[in-house]
């Protein structure tokens, strides 16, 4: 049930326990216990909401920043990654294989704010060799959710 449960709540974090139990064909108490275990084990590490900020009046800019760094003896990339992810405007940090080392995703109010972060904070860290900043112009799909109008049901009633 674990895998199926995770798949359901990954798509719908707001689903209530009773309904979860029905969909999975188990008792509510089993769902409660399993969720608690998943949280304790750190498998479930948060419940978030997908927001299409473009439809609001609030300005937001998202940037993907490729960062090349010098790994440190005994610690590799972990220490520098930790220094970067402490900033609240950084939403994600990944260690990446290939031409650069860290992928940093940053959210800011404006281009200026983001570029200010890159030039003042990120680039000035000792171990950072170079950065390349890519601004997101439009989000088509995020976390498996397609932004845009919902498809109409065009199916006909047939046998």
């Amino acid at each position: 049930m674990r895998e199926e449960l995770l798949r359901i709540i990954e798509k719908n974090g707001r689903i209530d326990l009773k309904e979860l139990a029905v969909l999975l064909g188990v008792q509510e108490i089993d769902v409660v216990n399993e969720l608690q275990k998943l949280e304790e084990e750190g498998i479930i590490c948060g419940y978030h909401t997908m927001i299409n900020w473009e439809l609001t009046d609030i300005d937001k800019v998202t940037a993907l920043i490729e960062v090349r760094v010098t790994p440190q003896r005994g610690q590799g990339f972990d220490t520098i990654a930790e220094r970067i992810f402490q900033y609240p405007e950084v939403t994600s940090v990944y260690l990446i294989s290939g031409g650069y080392d860290l992928m940093v995703i940053l959210e800011g109010k404006s281009l200026r704010e983001v570029s200010g972060f890159v030039s003042n904070k990120l680039s000035t860290m000792d171990t950072v060799l170079s950065t390349a900043t890519h601004f997101i112009l439009k989000k088509y799909k995020d976390h498996g959710t397609i932004f845009g109008p919902k498809k109409q049901d065009e199916r006909e009633m047939m046998a």
Binding site: E4, L23, L24, D153, E156, M157, M158, A159
Partner: protein, 390 residues
């Protein structure tokens, strides 16, 4: 002017589902639970193969029986799921949906007056196709107390010396009933005893929820007397591609291919290329969709339980078949009032045969959100009906 029409076709009633759809399409805020096709889009990698084949200019007829590559994949699929081996060169034909396979299968087998056993409730085309092929439909009314499974006794009671073909429509539309291995073993004996040919419509084979589907062709002595029909519509959400197939004894497939050759030529080429991809790399998609259907099925079963509506647990297809006899109305009256008063369209069980009287077919090829709204409306409706009855 003379009457231009054939008496045979004029005597056949049109499908009873249409009427409801016409009302629904004109009604605002109406919810339909009536469709018989998946709500999922065809998985992208399958669509992509179809598109790719078009880009490459694969826009010609295929051989009458279908692309050899596809027939081989079909044989692989049946071998790996049922352990039954077919020769892709002689024992398979690719058709325009499972429905064409039903039609040409019956036409290839029936002589005038031959009787065809048709268990009902079931898909609407068996009876008209039998009549059009010159056969005589003999209806077996499946019973709720058997969970709408077919029993050996029911066959024995219906069989005559003119009986030639038995239609085996499981997993079943509209009841959701399945036949487990033991059920099939029980009827196989009678089938052998009366030397019947089985037309096994297994279009919902991938959609079972209490274990894997078993084909009657996998039972001893049955492959040589079975025409196995399946297709891509339900398993891979490919209804609009119009692609199905039949596997069976060479002699029958050969005659089916002849009809197909003259009437159809070949199944759509683009769809055939897409179907190869579906069979090669589509297992994961099928599993994912099956899981989603199963969640909805559990949701509906629970909703009926909470409303106190009687419903046997269906283990196949994507339909539930609740009993509405307690409300003292015919299926048609119930469905009509439900549509008028709560704007929800469900199909009366009688659209699938007289034995569907007292039942409603509810499709769960819809999102949970939609089903939730529909069940709230059903709850309101039955509460009102019950208070009227007092």
């Amino acid at each position: 002017m003379r009457n231009p029409l054939s008496d045979t076709i004029v005597s056949i009633k049109p499908s009873g589902i249409r009427k409801f759809f016409d009302i629904v399409s004109e009604m605002k805020d109406a919810i339909s639970l009536g469709v018989g096709e998946p709500d999922f889009d065809t998985p992208w990698h399958i669509r992509d193969e179809g598109i790719y084949s078009l880009e490459k200019g694969k826009t010609f007829y295929t051989s009458n029986s279908g692309l050899m590559e596809l027939r081989k994949e079909i044989c692989n699929y049946i071998d790996r799921t049922q352990g039954v081996k077919y020769d892709p060169a002689k024992e398979v034909i690719v058709t325009v949906g499972g429905s064409e396979a039903i039609d040409i299968g019956l036409r290839a087998m029936l002589n005038p007056g031959d009787e065809v056993l048709i268990p009902q409730p079931s898909y609407v085309s068996y009876e008209p196709c039998t009549i059009l092929a010159g056969g005589k439909p003999v209806i077996i009314n499946l019973k709720a107390e058997n969970d709408f499974r077919l029993t050996a006794r029911e066959i024995e009671e219906a069989v005559t010396e003119k009986t030639k073909v038995l239609i085996l429509p499981f997993p079943n539309n509209p009841t959701g009933a399945i036949m487990e291995k033991k059920d099939l073993e029980a009827i196989a004996e009678v089938i052998l005893k009366h030397d019947l040919i089985v037309l096994s419509d297994e279009i919902y084979a991938e959609l079972t929820y209490n274990g894997k589907h078993v084909s009657i062709a996998s039972l001893p002595g049955m492959q040589e007397r079975t025409v196995l029909i399946n297709g891509f519509s339900k398993a891979y959400a490919m209804t609009g591609w119009r692609l199905g197939y039949a596997c069976g004894p060479e002699a029958i497939i050969k005659q089916m291919t002849k009809i197909h050759q003259f009437a159809i030529m070949c199944a759509p080429t683009t769809a055939q290329y897409a179907a190869v991809e579906a069979l090669k790399n589509g297992d994961g998609d099928v599993a994912e969709m099956r899981e989603a259907y199963n969640q909805r099925r559990r949701f509906l079963m629970n909703a009926f339980k909470e409303m106190g509506i009687e419903c046997f647990e269906p283990y196949g297809a994507f339909y539930v078949f609740p009993c509405i006899k307690e409300f003292g109305m015919t299926s048609d009256e119930f469905a009509t009032r439900f549509l008028e008063e709560e704007k929800v369209a469900a199909v009366p069980g009688t659209a699938f045969g007289d034995s569907g009287e007292g039942y409603l077919r509810i499709s769960y090829a819809y999102s949970i959100e939609r089903l939730k709204e529909a069940m709230e409306r059903l709850n309101r409706f039955v509460t009102r009906l019950r208070s009227e009855q007092k």
